[in-house]
Point group: C2
């Protein structure tokens, strides 16, 4: 016979899960606050700019960019509109597929990213990696990969 009762979390799982949710909320908020105060951008903005800076020609199609940073198309459109207003990116129509749009990092955008990077990386170090040894870095990667692969399948 079927068993429809929910499978609850064990005590250990529950404790781990709450610690995780708390840590994530604290961490993302802290990084957002640091970037906003020191560089006038959000963490999501930073990731968008960073992706562009590593792309050939410092540009990406909007859809690919959205997939890379795991933002919805709509959210990316709004974010890029703001970044364009700040003069940090430019959009242009894709010549080959005229449905598409390229988003390119401007020189000003690259400069803003370079200015933001040291403080942001320092914060990531302080909040995360300075507390970790090699093993913990491996664990973080493994756990994150496991979750990511379950959710992108």
């Amino acid at each position: 016979m079927a068993d429809d009762r929910p499978r609850w979390l064990s005590g250990d799982e529950q404790a781990a899960w709450r610690a995780f949710l708390d840590a994530v909320r604290l961490l993302i908020d802290s990084l957002d606050a640091q970037l906003q105060a020191d560089a006038g951008m959000s963490l999501a903005d930073y990731e968008v700019l960073a992706q562009l800076s590593e792309s050939p020609g410092r540009e990406r199609r909007m859809s690919g960019l959205a997939d890379s940073v795991f933002l919805s198309r709509s959210r990316l459109s709004h974010a890029v509109a703001r970044l364009e207003g700040a003069g940090w990116v430019e959009r242009r129509k894709c010549p080959s597929d005229r449905r598409g749009t390229y988003c390119r990092l401007t020189d000003a955008g690259f400069a803003a990213l370079e200015a933001a990077a040291p403080g942001h990386v320092e914060a990531v170090r302080r909040y995360v990696f300075d507390a970790f040894g090699c093993d913990e870095v491996t664990h973080l990667a493994r756990l994150s990969e496991a979750i990511r692969s379950r959710l992108t399948s």
Copy 2:
């Protein structure tokens, strides 16, 4: 002499960090979407209701509640206003310290939480713990604790 150059992340650290950010964004979005679709509440709402359900008398002071779920006071006030509108919580003035406010889970709120819980827990299992063994649960708890303690010190 001083060295002001930023300490960049190693390749392994960078990969772990990006995987982590991606996993967190996917995970939180998925859990939010599941709760919103199946129970009409956000993940933050769920955590607030869950905290209340475990408190004596099913009530907490606003400030303690905010600390427990790591939300700003302002954000909690807005959230509780919405929850009160839904009939899931009630607020009353604290008699001993009249600056304070108690937030209490109503019967309807408790019922809503009970209705939401199985689907939510099942999602947490599916997305996270079903992929983990005992060791991974321990790792998750340790990493989360390390980050949390750095940020609440």
